[in-house]
């Protein structure tokens, strides 16, 4: 079975041999540690590290102010030389604008919005259209799916009120998903923090999957699986804070629990909840994590 097929099967909740796995980005230091090598870290080393951890996917940044300027060679190369499943990562309108304007100014402008002045809504729509164009380019160059990253929440809940999300951002997400569905690709959503209150909206918008599921922010994957597992493919739920300091035995217990809760019936992709792993993660812990995921993520032949 190819890696790509395994991820497709998980998303479609078809039987597959094991739970697919993967992270967004790995730092050069981490790759060197995993491979036990010194010297320059390039594409080959990253591919080898992902392979040795048993990953099935990569997540490649597709955003560009001017989409025509991005050279999508990275997408083509992963597609040409490997069977990894490729997510094209774009910023959603919330996080995209916040990064551009600065988070505080962005929030203040959202707070000042009213019936007469919806400049922020218009800016968000433009931001969304720009990212969508980037995503389409990535798809043409080999991506299998799109991941819209929009950090709208923190540990206690949404960063802004629910009505603002519902009125401005949910419609933009829905429009992006609908457009991308014409390309027949699955679209995932990512937000850190506690997004429990948004799950029905994400499903109604047509998202195929949800990444992060930050456990420290009250995202209970067992509950979400029971409640929404038929509608959303879940991805993530290993906490970075846990990973950096856990002992091997603790990692094994955690991964087993997670697989028991999330893997049955498919619809789960193993991953940490934070996306990017840096040099501060002990590489031995990451290796242990992925070994455990391999061991506990096997589906029985008969199921």
């Amino acid at each position: 079975m190819t890696r790509t097929q395994r991820v497709y099967d998980a998303i479609a909740r078809r039987w597959t041999d094991k739970v697919p796995k993967g992270e967004w980005c790995l730092s050069a230091g981490l790759i060197a540690g995993i491979l036990g090598c010194q010297g320059a870290i390039g594409w080959e080393q990253e591919a080898a590290a992902r392979e040795s951890l048993g990953m099935d996917l990569v997540v490649l940044g597709a955003d560009q102010e001017d989409p025509s300027e991005l050279d999508y060679e990275e997408f083509r190369r992963w597609r040409r030389e490997t069977d990894f499943f490729i997510f094209a990562l774009i910023n959603g309108p919330f996080q995209g604008l916040a990064r551009k304007m600065g988070w505080t100014d962005f929030f203040l402008m959202l707070g000042d919005r009213d019936d007469r002045d919806d400049r922020i809504g218009e800016m968000a729509a433009r931001q969304s259209a720009l990212s969508l164009a980037s995503a389409k380019n990535a798809l043409r160059n080999g991506a299998h799916a799109v991941l819209i990253a929009d950090d709208v929440a923190q540990t206690e809940g949404f960063l802004v009120s629910y009505p603002l999300l519902r009125d401005i951002f949910v419609p933009l997400w829905r429009a992006s998903v609908q457009t991308l569905k014409e390309e027949k690709v699955p679209v995932f959503f990512h937000s850190d923090g506690n997004v429990n209150g948004l799950l029905p909206d994400l499903i109604a918008a047509g998202f195929a999957g949800l990444h992060s599921l930050e456990p420290a922010a009250g995202m209970d994957i067992a509950y979400i699986k029971r409640q929404y597992g038929a509608d959303l493919c879940l991805m993530g739920n290993i906490d970075l804070g846990f990973l950096v300091q856990a002992e091997a035995e603790e990692i094994a217990v955690k991964v087993k629990q997670l697989m028991d809760a999330a893997a049955p019936g498919g619809g789960y992709i193993f991953s940490t909840s934070c996306g990017c792993l840096g040099d501060e993660v002990p590489f031995a812990n990451l290796i242990t994590l992925y070994q455990c995921a391999e061991e506990y993520g096997i589906y029985p032949q008969s199921s």
Binding site: F107, V160, V281
Partner: protein, 225 residues
């Protein structure tokens, strides 16, 4: 009119509190100025207006419901009242002197770029009358201590949202002690740090939120007087 014992002053301060809480910064400035023009003294206006508004926000955001946007908007309204009305007033210098707040060195620790929470803290401390020395983000532990020495600070506030920075956070108090700053309190906060105990971080206090910090500081200044 020196106090709140008139209908006009009472109604005016209520309006001011509501304007601040709703984040209506332009209205808040006008209302604050009007109260002073009516003859209310500066300190009473600040107490009954911005300070009361801050308290009501603190009660509201204390529970599980967190309201970043409201805090930012109300904070901006309070800031505008302070900058455009209060600090322009003839009695301002005397009021600040009477409060006698120490300098507060603040920053996000090395290895961390998150600064949203730290900026909220800086804003609220300024509103409380502290002289805030904001070192920004990705700040080496040594720089917190150097700034505290230079500014004769009473407090060092360390923000972090990433677990892996904890060893750097732990260093701050140690370096402060080496620099002879035994009276300076080291305080910590931010999404990850607040899950830890003060001993684990080697700090004097871990704040659950900016309002938790303000309550702690009020307790401190009451203990001193």
């Amino acid at each position: 009119m020196k106090d709140l014992n008139t209908e006009a002053a009472k109604a005016g301060t209520d309006e001011l509190v509501a304007a601040i809480a709703n984040g209506e910064n332009i209205e808040a400035v006008v209302l604050a100025q009007k109260l002073l023009d009516l003859g209310l003294d500066l300190e009473t206006m600040v107490e009954a207006g911005p300070t009361k508004a801050l308290e009501s926000l603190s009660n509201k955001c204390n529970n599980d419901e967190f309201c970043l946007l409201e805090i930012l908007l109300a904070g901006r309204a309070m800031m505008d009242v302070m900058e455009q009305v209060v600090s322009q007033h003839a009695g301002f210098a005397a009021m600040v002197e009477a409060q006698n707040r120490p300098a507060f060195v603040l920053g996000t620790i090395k290895g961390d770029m998150h600064d949203l929470g730290k900026n909220v803290v800086a804003m609220m401390l300024k509103l409380e009358g502290y002289r805030v020395i904001d070192l920004g983000k990705d700040v080496e532990p040594e720089r917190f201590v150097d700034a505290a020495v230079k500014e004769q600070a009473g407090y060092i506030g360390v923000s972090s949202l990433i677990t892996t920075t904890i060893p750097s956070v732990r260093k701050v108090k140690e370096l402060a002690a080496q620099a002879g700053l035994t009276d300076v309190k080291v305080l910590a906060g931010g999404a990850v740090l607040r899950q830890a105990e003060p001993q684990q971080l080697n700090v004097d206090f871990v704040a659950q939120s900016v309002f938790h910090l303000l309550r702690y500081l009020r307790g401190e200044s009451e203990a001193e007087t």
